[in-house]
């Protein structure tokens, strides 16, 4: 997939997403209605990046259990303001409901922003962005290897699970525990052996402990434009909130 958003420097996107999330999370509860203003930059990003909205929303829903669980308590436990309804000892408070709504709205906005970032930025360029931002090199290497072999090992785990499922499982928790132990053990051994082979391959190509990288990121005009637009937006929003 390619779009102007995809082509932006990952650092621009990281910084803008981070600032956007801070804005959303710090949005005063008293001005909750105005949070729709946040849809401006987010909507623009979604539209320009041509990412499919249903897919983005589905991911948000999939990630929501924890936030939803926390939010759902507030209408019943945040005892202030008007009581909207009463069932036995449980009371539904208006302010609590607003709090829950606020949490869910903020959740949706932040997760959407993070998802747009993830879907429009190849991981390899995120790694390069981290290198320019002086993130420790060892950490970046571990991230790179992890990402690289993640899908390989997940595939292995999947195959093992299917092989195990197609055999008659021993009844009860112990059977599943022993099966898990076997799978994890095999996965671990394969991972261990694989890392040995990777190391040999690294040595064979002259690796001597120092990883050399080539800087390939470039901050272009599109980045400057995006950054400027976002800065203007931020100033505008802060002004509105101060009114």
């Amino acid at each position: 997939m390619n779009s102007p958003v995809h082509r932006l420097d990952p650092r621009t996107k990281l910084v803008c997403t981070g600032l956007f999330c801070m804005l959303v999370v710090s949005w005063p509860q008293a001005r909750l209605g105005w949070i729709a203003l946040c849809l401006l930059p987010l909507g623009a990003a979604v539209v320009i990046s041509r990412l499919p909205l249903p897919y983005l929303l589905k991911r948000c829903v999939m990630l929501s259990p924890l936030a939803a669980t926390v939010a759902v308590f507030f209408p019943f436990t945040h005892a202030s303001g008007q009581v909207l309804a009463s069932v036995g000892p449980l009371n539904l408070y208006a302010d609590g409901l607003l709090l829950a709504g606020g949490i869910l709205a903020r959740f949706l906005l932040t997760v959407l922003a993070a998802t747009v970032l993830a879907c429009s930025t190849p991981f390899a360029s995120l790694l390069k962005a981290m290198a320019t931002l002086r993130v420790p090199r060892l950490f970046i290497m571990v991230l790179a290897f992890l990402y690289r072999y993640l899908f390989v090992l997940v595939d292995e785990a999947d195959r093992m699970r299917r092989a195990r499922d197609s055999r008659t499982p021993r009844p009860g928790g112990l059977g599943r525990f022993m099966a898990a132990r076997g799978m994890l053990g095999m996965l671990f051994i394969r991972a261990f052996d694989r890392s040995d082979r990777i190391y040999s391959a690294m040595l064979a190509r002259g690796f001597d402990g120092n990883v050399q990288t080539m800087q390939q990121l470039s901050f272009g005009r599109a980045d400057a434009a995006a950054a400027a637009a976002f800065a203007v937006y931020l100033c505008g929003v802060v002004a509105v909130l101060r009114m």
């Binding site: 391959a201 064979a204 190509r205 002259g206 050399q212």
Partner: protein, 237 residues
Amino acid sequence: MQTAINCRNLCFSYHDGSAALRGVSMQVTTGERLAIVGPNGAGKSTLLLHLNGILQRASGLLEVCGREVSKANIGEIRARVGMVFQHADDQLFMPTVFDDVAFGPLNSGLPAEEVRRRVAEALEQVGLAGFESRAPYHLSGGEKKSVAIATVLSMSPEVLVMDEPTSNLDHRARRRLIRLLQSLRQTLVIATHDLRMVQEVCGRVIVLDGGAVMADGPTAALLGDSELLEQHGLEAI
């Protein structure tokens, strides 16, 4: 004619003490294409891993491109001997194809422009020009194998060592690989079970069994000797 590999009486044992290589001797001239064949466990891979110093021999002489294979020379040796391992997945460990093919030249300390040129050349040579920004995970088996070879070609080695290059390839990918091998100018040492490929690519064959050299001679003669092949666990073609 120069000697690319000079190996005399090479001995090596595994951790548990069992002998892996017993007095292996061979001379490979520059530009020669040698196949090392034998049953599983014969020590083919073990022998190959000595050629770029990943394994250290217990005794015997081993010189590659005129230099003794030892800790002191290891950087030079590895710049001259390119090794392509059996499982491409373990050789393509960087985020993109470009990063993988550039890994070797970068480790040699070459400047960025030269590295870029070498990467482009290597990918061109294996028929994968334009694949720079692809991620290794999404490549097909044949493409991975080709990129693995490119990662080694970009270092401009004098000797190419390959462990089972045609394993797990479908017919088309295998054909492409054979054509690529035939086009290479470097000295080739290939450990393999694929005797048909050996017939097409290599002029000389060494039969290894139980860690020792059982036969060493021209391809036609050795591969035509079905008794010899049978004796050492190989299928006559």
